[in-house]
Symmetry: C2
Subunit: 289 residues, 2 copies
């Protein structure tokens, strides 16, 4: 499946150029942050941000600080999710997780540091109207707080999902809000208001749902090598997933429906077509890792 | 010692009014955040922010969103510092620490959530010129990232302080930068530039130093009841402190010198006097808990 690799390379270069701090006394902390940040991956969220810029006729390079910041936040969330007190995962993207490589204390602080440095990087380097940047930063803070990523992770570790509606809500918060923010922040920085962007927001929200259904399917059908971590970990953790709720065939059907819905919302948002956003959508639907 | 209790009450009311999220599924996470946030304390950082507003002739109430956000960040740092993988402290302000009361997973997420909600709260409610608010937020992110609080905490857990200079640097990062930001962000939001504010910045930096020297002295001389945690924990953790470096009398002398220096910088910054900032300075120098 084609993927906008040109945009992925731009992101990779921006991330690799981040230095965080010249202070020798914190060099090992910075090393742990870079170890987790530069472990590869498709960079779906920042690539989505750059592709959104293209879809609205802007230069994607102008959004690189925001895009990099979003990937820093995503990396922070992975480090904290993997901790012994959370999912207790030893492997991530085919390598030891941060706490396995650097110790639990350093891993907690590497996550904390990445989150702070995300805000610092965007606030230092992102160009745009100050009011528009403030709007985007507020969206990003909300998407990653109690009504977003952190709240979703809490629901996940607390196992407080009683039914399919709770499961949907959990993933909307834990995964969907940051994926959504990757689109919405670009629109906000470029001066678009919420009423201009409702089709885009629907697209972004559906993309988050699609991402999670496919994630749950892959946890059952993927191989350890492709996933970069042990397959079947959801079941071992007793997690409620789209597969445990609807069966494998049911989950696949939901994924197909979500894929169609995402494509339809995207077409409504960008009637003339947005090739990179279409590629990302199809990639998320058909990925094998 | 007089303390600007009127400002402290304003802060307390603002903090108590924070609701974070109406979502029932994350109610226990929000409870853990509020448990740590509303455990009392002198609220030195936010009170310092409000007192700074007064010192430059502004209405302190206009700075309440910023002040509250700073206390959220301070609370997040305490929760993460207390974790088993870090300082492993069971008591804080006379009550079980967050991970003792709510579990380690919830405590990590309560800290993460407080940091996000700090940015969200300030970005949603703080009034001011957008560019000035952006400047203040950048300062706050920097003061709490790798070149600030998180970097200092890393130095602390890694035990990477070889000499008194490293010790000074550790505390400048871990404690001083957020205390400094409590002053500087108020100046930035009110449109003052770095060149207008160098005396203020010296004052704020010295206040951070003074705070830490007194903290180290109290860890040796304080009582469990007054401190709200077991006395002598620095020594048990084998931490390098101002007392271990310079002895108790030496540390007291350093504290007195730092106190005089802070008062002198404050007088240079506000020649007509700033009663609340003077009170906070004297309080920090003479506090018993």
């Amino acid at each position: 499946m084609p993927y906008p690799e040109e945009l992925q390379r731009l992101v990779e270069r921006e991330l690799d150029g981040l230095e965080f701090s010249p202070e020798p006394a914190t060099a090992r902390l910075v090393e742990a942050m870079r170890y987790s940040l530069l472990a590869g991956g498709k960079r779906i969220r920042p690539v989505l941000a750059l592709a959104t810029a293209r879809a609205i006729g802007r230069n994607e390079r102008d959004m690189l600080p925001l895009a990099a910041g979003i990937e820093l936040i995503h990396t922070y969330s992975l480090i904290h999710d993997d901790l012994p007190a959370m999912d207790d995962d030893d492997m991530r993207r085919g390598r030891p997780t941060a706490h396995k490589a650097y110790g639990e204390d350093v891993a907690i602080l590497a996550g904390d540091g990445l989150y702070a440095e995300a805000f610092r990087h965007i606030l230092t380097h992102q160009q745009g109207e100050p009011r528009a940047i403030l709007d985007a930063m507020r969206e990003l803070a909300t998407a990653t707080g109690v009504d977003g990523m952190v709240g979703g992770q809490y629901m996940d570790v607390a196992g407080e999902q009683a039914d399919a509606e709770d499961l949907r809500r959990l993933h909307e918060l834990k995964t969907g809000r940051l994926i959504g923010a990757s689109v919405e922040c670009v629109l906000l920085i470029n001066g678009m208001t919420r009423s201009d962007t409702s089709d885009f927001c629907e697209f972004a929200a559906e993309l988050g749902v699609l991402f999670q259904i496919v994630d749950d399917i892959l946890d059952v059908t993927g191989t350890d090598a492709a996933l970069g971590k042990p397959q079947g970990s959801d079941e071992r953790h007793g997690k409620r997933t789209y597969v445990s709720e609807f069966g494998l065939d049911g989950a696949r059907e939901l994924a197909e429906r979500s894929h169609r819905q995402a494509r339809a919302s995207l077409l409504a948002a960008v009637p003339n077509g947005a090739p990179e956003l279409e590629q990302i959508t199809d990639f998320i639907a058909t990925r094998s890792s």
